[in-house]
Amino acid sequence: MRRQAALPLGALMLAASVSAWAQTTPQPKSGGTGADQVLPTVEVKASRENESKESFRATTTTIGKGNQELRDVPQSVTVITERLMSDRNLDDFRDVLRNTAGVTFQAGETGEEDIRLRGFSLGQAGDIYSDGMRDGTLYERDTFNVDRIDVLKGSASMLFGKGSTGGVVNQVSKQPFLTNQNEVSYTVGTGQDNRLTGDFNVVTGENAAFRLNAMVQDADNWGAEQKKQGVAPTFSWGIGTRDEFSVGLYYLESDGRPLYNHPWVINNGHIVETVPAKNYYGLASDHLNTSATYGTIAYTHRFDQNSQLKTQLRHGRYERDLLASAVGFCNGVTGNASQRAACPGQQIVRLDQVNDNTVLSRAPKGRIGVSDTTQLTSDYSGNFIWGGLKHELLTGVDFYQEDAKRNNAFTTGLTFPFTKVGTPNDGATVADTRGNPAFNTFDARDIGLYVQDMVSIAPTVKLLGGLRFDRFTASYQTPTGTSNERSDNLWSPRVGALYQPSNWASYYVSYGTSYNTSGDAYQFTPTFGNDQRTAANTPPEKSRNFEVGGKWDLFENRASLGVAAFYSEKYNERNLDPDTASTQQLLSGKRHAAGMEFNLAGRITPKWEVFFNHTWIPDAKIDESNQVLAANGGGAQVKGDRPGLTPKNSGSLWTTYLVMPKLRLGAGLTYRGEQNPEGSRAVTADSFVVADAMAEYTIDQTWSAKLYVSNLTDKLYADTLYRGFYAPGSPRRVQLTLKAAF
C-alpha cells in the first residue's frame, strides 16, 4: 500500500477539504473503504543529467537501444549509477562488476576478457559496450568518464548481434548538459594511491555545452603499481532541440605491473590461500600497459511525439602489452630440472609448509595486441498509432569493422628468476629480449539490421516482437601466412509480453536468443590440419534465454524493485568451450543456468538509500559434453557437473543513512558463494563475504570529505580463479577523498 505519498504543498493543504465541490461523495474503489483511498504519488523526476549523480536508482536506460523506461525492458537490468560508483570508489570497471550479482572472474587473463555473467563469458565475445557500441577489448577500463553502467542480463542478440549469452554491459559516457557544474575530487589511500579527477561542464551557448572529464592516478599497490591518465572532452550543441550534435574524444592510458596470480594449496578439494593479498611476487620489469583512444560523432534528430533518430560514428584504437609473472610454488621433487636445482626437496601441499624461505617460481606470460575498430550505429525509436493500436517502434542498422593483431603467448626466450615468499616485490628485473612479436591477424566486419515493435494491445498489455539479421564476415591469418575466411548469416528473434496494471508495477515474460561467432573466441588461432577443434572456421554457438519477472516502484516511488526467474541455455553442437581461451576441449554441446535475480535500488526513506542485487542460480549444469572424466576424478568438468565460475549465490548490498544533516554513513557487503574454477571440477573456492564502510561529511556547499574502508576485516579470499591458481581480492584499503563541487 502506498500511503503518505510525497505530495505538493498545494495538494497537502487542499486535498482534505475538497469534497464540497463534488455533489456526490467520491465512490470508494471496489474492494476498499473510503479510508483506503490513497492519493497517488506525484513523481517529479530529477532532470536526467542529474539522476545518476544523485541516486542509486535509475528509471530509464539506453541499453535496449533508444531511450526506454526500465519498466518497459522485459529483462533483468542492474544499473550502477555514478553516485554508487562515487560512494564506493569504484574506479576500475572490474570493481563495478565485482559489486554486481552474477558476475565472476577467471584469473590469469589480466585483461578485461574473462568476466562471466551467470557463468557465461562476457568479454570474449565483445559483450562490453560503451554508449551502445562495442568497446574494445584489451584495455584496463576506468570509470572517470562513466555516467552509469547498465548490466542487461540474458541473451540479447536481437539488440546487440553476436555475443550476449550471459548478458551485456553498457558503459554510458558522461554527456554535456545545460548547467554550469564542476567537480574536482582527490583521493589518497593505502598502497600509496593518489587519484585526482575532474568533471567540468560549461554552458557555452543557448543550447550548447562543453564537458571535460580528466583523471590521473598513481598507485604503488605494494609493488603492483598502476599509473593511469585519462581525458575525455565532449562538445554538444543543439542540446534538447530538434537537432542535437555531439563530438567527443576519449583517451585513457594505463601503465603498471599486474598481480597475475598467487599460488594455492588444496585441502580436501578446497582452495587455501597462502600468502597475504597485497604481496607482489612479479618482477620489477613486469608490465601491463594498455591504452584506448577513440573519437565519436553523434547526431540526434527528434521528430514529433517522442520519436528520434540517433546516429553515432566512432573510430578507435585499443592496445595492450603484457609481460607478467605467473607465480607458483617451486617443486623441487617432481618439477623440471631448474626447479629441482632451485628448491631441492621442496613440495608444498599444506599451508603449514609455507614460510618465508619457501621458494616461488615465476613463469613469463606475455600477450600483446592492437585493435582498430570503426563503428556506425543508427537507431530510430518512434511512437505511433497504427491500426488503432499504439506502437513503439525500434529499428536500426549497425556496422562494425575490426582490424586486430594478436600474440597471446609472446614469451620467446625469456626465463624468470625464482624468489621467496619472504621477499615480495624483490625488485628483480629481466631484460626483454623478445624482439618484435609475430602476429595473428583478424579482420572482421559485421552489419546488422534490426526491427522491434512493442504494441499496446490493451491499456495494460504490451506485446513485444523483434528480429535482427547479421552478416558477419571475418578473415584470419597466422604469422606464417596460413589464412582462412568465414562468413555467417544470422537471425536473432526476441519476443515478450508486458502486463502493466498500474504505473508502479510491470510484469513480463520474454524469450531471446544469442550466438557467439567462433571468430571471436578463436580469432587468433586459425589452426588447420588434423586438429580442427580449435579452427576458427566453426559455426556460431547458440543460446536462448527465457525470463519471467516483475518490476515495481516502491516507497512512494523512490525505489525500484525487480525480481525475475530465468533459464539460460547454450545449446549449440560445437564441442568446444568458447568461454576459455585454452585449446583444450572442455565442454561440449549444451549447458544451462536457471535461477532468479533480485534488484533493489533507491531510497527507502528520504535519508536511507539502498542498492541491493542478488543472483541465485540453484540449477546450473553441463548437459552434454565429450569431456572424458579424468582417471583420478579431477580434471575438467564433465557432463552432469556444475559449470565453473557459477556460484549458487552472489550478491551485493550497499546502504547509506543520513544520520545528521551533514553526516552520511554507509556500509556494504559483497558475497559470492563457493565455486569451481573453469576446467577444475575437483577444486572449490570457498564462499566469501567482504564488508566495506564509509563516512561522508559535508563541510559546506562546496566541500565534502569521505572516508572509505574496503575489506574491513582484511579478508583473504580467492576473487578470480584459474585451474591452477587464483588471484586474491584486494586487501583492506583506507581511502580519504576530498571533493569540491562548484
Binding site: 505530495l7 467520491p26 492519493l39 497517488p40 528520504p606 543520513l658
Partner: protein
C-alpha cells in the same frame, strides 16, 4: 501556464465515462451554453446538464481531479465549475477562436465562478478522430493540443482558444473552469514552480532539513500574501 496532467482518469473510470456518454446520452446543441459573441463560433454538441448521465459524469470527473495533487498545486482551486461534456462530430464539429466568459454560473452547486483557469479533459483517444485540436494562443505562440483519453489540459481562461473541425470520428471531452484562490496567473505559476522544486528537495533531503522547512514556510507565506478564500 499550460500544464498537461496525465492519466487523471483511471482506465476503469474512462471506460465508465465512455459508456455513459455513448449509451443514450442526451446531446443538445452546444450553443445553449455560449455567450452572445461565442454563439456564432460554436458548433458542437453538449450533454444536457440535468441528465442522470451528466450528474454521474460530473461526480466522476470531480472525484478524479480531487485525487490529482498536481491539479491542486497548479490550480489552487477555490471553486470548480460543474464539469460539462461535449462532442464534436459530423456537422457539429468545431468551435472557433473565443475567450471564455469571465464569470459563469455553475448549477451544481449553484454558484458564480470566475474562470481563472480552463480545463479540458480528453475522453476520446487521438486516433479515434481527425482534427479536433485544442488550439491555444499563448504568449509564446500557438499551442496545438490533442491528448490521450484520460489526460487533462489546464490553461489560463484569459487565452484565446479554439477547437479545430473534426473531419472523422468523434471528439469527446469534458470541460470546466476553476476559480483560483490566487487570481494572478503569474503568481500561480511561481507558486507551482516553487512547490515542484520543494517536492524534489523534500524527497531528496527529507521534510526535516532546516532549509526545506524554511522554504516551505516561504511558500505558505507567499500563498498567504496572494490567496483569497
Amino acid at each position: 501556464m499550460l500544464l498537461r496532467l496525465k492519466n487523471v482518469l483511471t482506465r476503469e473510470e474512462l471506460a465508465t465515462a465512455r459508456s455513459l456518454l455513448e449509451s443514450g446520452a442526451q446531446w443538445v446543441d452546444g450553443r445553449s451554453s455560449a455567450g452572445g459573441q461565442a454563439v456564432a463560433r460554436k458548433n458542437n454538441e453538449q450533454l444536457a446538464q440535468d441528465s442522470d448521465a451528466s450528474r454521474r459524469l460530473q461526480a466522476l470527473v470531480l472525484n478524479a481531479v480531487q485525487r490529482d495533487p498536481l491539479f491542486f498545486s497548479a490550480a489552487l482551486p477555490r471553486k470548480i465549475f460543474n464539469p460539462l461534456f461535449n462532442r464534436y462530430s459530423g456537422a457539429s464539429n468545431h468551435y472557433g477562436a473565443h475567450i471564455d466568459g469571465a464569470v459563469l454560473h455553475s448549477r451544481n452547486p449553484s454558484q458564480w465562478v470566475r474562470t481563472d483557469i480552463s480545463c479540458t479533459l480528453f475522453l476520446a483517444e487521438p486516433d479515434e478522430y481527425d482534427g479536433g485540436e485544442l488550439v491555444i494562443q499563448d504568449p509564446q505562440g500557438e499551442q496545438r493540443i490533442k491528448l490521450p483519453a484520460g489526460d487533462l489540459m489546464l490553461y489560463p481562461g484569459t487565452t484565446l482558444h479554439q477547437v479545430t473541425p473534426v473531419t472523422r470520428g468523434a471528439r469527446l471531452a469534458s470541460f470546466f473552469w476553476v476559480e483560483s484562490m490566487v487570481r494572478g496567473g503569474e503568481q500561480r505559476r511561481l507558486l507551482f514552480e516553487m512547490d515542484m522544486a520543494l517536492l524534489k528537495l523534500r524527497n531528496a533531503l527529507g521534510e526535516q532539513e532546516p532549509s526545506v522547512v524554511q522554504l516551505t514556510g516561504t511558500y505558505h507565506n507567499l500563498l498567504r500574501m496572494w490567496a483569497d478564500t
